[in-house]
Amino acid sequence: MVIGIGNEYRSDDGVGLRVLRALKQKALAGTVLIECTNEGIDLPETWKAASVIVIDAVSSGAQPGTICRLDALAQPIPAELSFQSTHSFGITEMIELARILGQLPARLIVYAIEGKDFSMGTALSTEVESSVQQVVAQVTSEIQGGHQYRSTAANGPSSGMSACSTT
């Protein structure tokens, strides 16, 4: 199951939806593709027992376009990867809440794409636009290649649990 999260009227906040729509073009067999435009309050019911990849924009101060791949079952989402909105919980809080309430799926990989511009608008910034194809490729490879895929980090954190790369 792949869930693209975002708000397409807030510029780079729409990148998760953009990636999801690009994946829809690929007709990936046996994969449910879901667009999520709210804070994800229904996700615990939707993703029950599934193997899930979530894609969303983040604002952490990293270079725009940086892609971080996190295994949400192996570790909590780092606090600096903020998915927050001004009106409700972000997906980080939903994942952590789901963890405490025992509602995480069987497998949960999060692709966090660093955004630059979250103002009103429907266009992605150049840096984020160039990340879209890479994320699509990585996610496709991950789905088609089973669970063996691991990204190589250009300059990732030392924990080894998550990996971030800049395009």
Partner: protein, 343 residues
């Protein structure tokens, strides 16, 4: 309204913090007010948090059912909807809302037993008022100090001003200064318009017909959520599918004025349109902007009475004092930097 109230539910399990003056916090064990956020609270109070989330989902269900999508609904149009349901299509939604109403009643009971600081000011409460309903989208603008105007007169009585220390504009009543919008304002000015069930819930929670302590806004919000579910079920019960899903609209060059009670208070909106119905200019003043000054006043007064508390506790309580207004700011737990200069 439930859809709007569903937003408030997300706030309910995100309480403020520790107050050493509160009797509950003095005992061993943590109270709901001791948690910085819902995620940490969920460890010890999972059922309360789950209930809050389920209520929010019930509210979202109304928007998806009628609006076609939870966010940016696509089934709404000027004059009404593109498609309206048949009566029996509401059945599944009604079941969710009945559950929600019961959950909301439990939530009122739960908030009522929390401990709150004693804090009341002489507020001017401003809200919509309507003869036939708890205020939502129609009525006159009234206050507890004699305001009684048509919505179109809003800009004759309220103005936004610059203050030197902030980018945010302050809304003030011309002549009287700061004013207070939101659940307490609605409740205090319209208690008798609440449904009998929600009035009873308020009474059982120990609320009188007036509540002037902003820390208790969480109880008032819960009462409003009871009302919202109750009213939604009443509407469903009395629903007859209309012949047309929308009324016919013939635009003409004019200015339109409206005021809507959204969860945080009155939202004033004005649009000037041309004879094809295109908007030429718009003015939108949301409730959080309107509460800016009163939030600052509350902080000033609260700090006056609480200044001797340890700084970390005081910071926490100030965050809570701000959260009483459920302002449209990030859900970041510690958003406040407190800087105290002592002489």
């Amino acid at each position: 309204m439930v859809a709007g109230m569903s937003h408030e539910v997300a706030v309910l399990p995100v309480p403020g913090g520790n107050d050493h003056n509160l009797p509950l916090a003095g005992r061993t064990g943590q109270t709901p007010f001791d948690y910085p956020d819902a995620v940490r609270m969920a460890k010890d109070y999972p059922d309360i948090v789950k209930r809050g989330l389920q209520m929010k989902k019930a509210g979202n269900a109304i928007v998806s059912f009628l609006g076609g999508r939870e966010v940016h609904p696509i089934n709404v149009r000027v004059g009404g909807f593109y498609r309206v349901p048949a009566k029996q299509e509401f059945n599944q939604l009604a079941e969710k809302l009945k559950w929600g109403r019961d959950a909301a009643l439990e939530t009122v009971q739960w908030t009522a037993q929390l401990a709150f600081p004693e804090f009341e000011q002489d507020y001017e409460f401003v809200a919509l008022q309507h003869p036939g309903e708890y205020p939502f989208n129609e009525g006159r603008l009234v206050s507890n100090v004699g305001l009684d105007i048509a919505v179109r007169e809003y800009e004759d009585h309220f103005v936004e001003e610059h203050v030197p220390y902030s980018n945010a504009l302050h809304s003030i009543h011309k002549g009287r200064g700061a004013y207070f919008v939101g659940p307490l304002a609605r409740y205090n000015l319209n208690f008798d318009r609440l449904s009998p069930l929600s009035q009873e819930a308020a009474r059982n929670a120990g609320l009188g017909q007036q509540c002037r302590n902003p820390f208790k806004s969480i109880i008032v919000r819960s009462v409003e959520i009871v009302y919202a579910f109750d009213e939604a079920l009443r509407i469903i019960e009395e629903y007859e599918k209309p012949e047309q899903p929308a009324v016919e609209i013939h635009p003409r060059a004019a200015t339109g004025y409206a005021c809507t009670e959204v969860p945080r208070g009155i939202l004033y909106h004005r649009y000037r349109i041309d004879d094809e119905g295109l908007i030429l200019d718009a003015k939108i003043i949301p409730p959080t902007s309107q509460n800016q000054k009163i939030i600052e006043n509350d902080l000033y007064r609260y700090v006056e009475q609480a200044i001797d508390l340890p700084e970390d506790v005081l910071t926490w309580q100030c965050e809570q004092a701000i959260r009483n207004y459920d302002p449209c700011i990030s859900c970041a737990t510690h958003f406040l930097k407190l800087h105290i200069e002592r002489e």
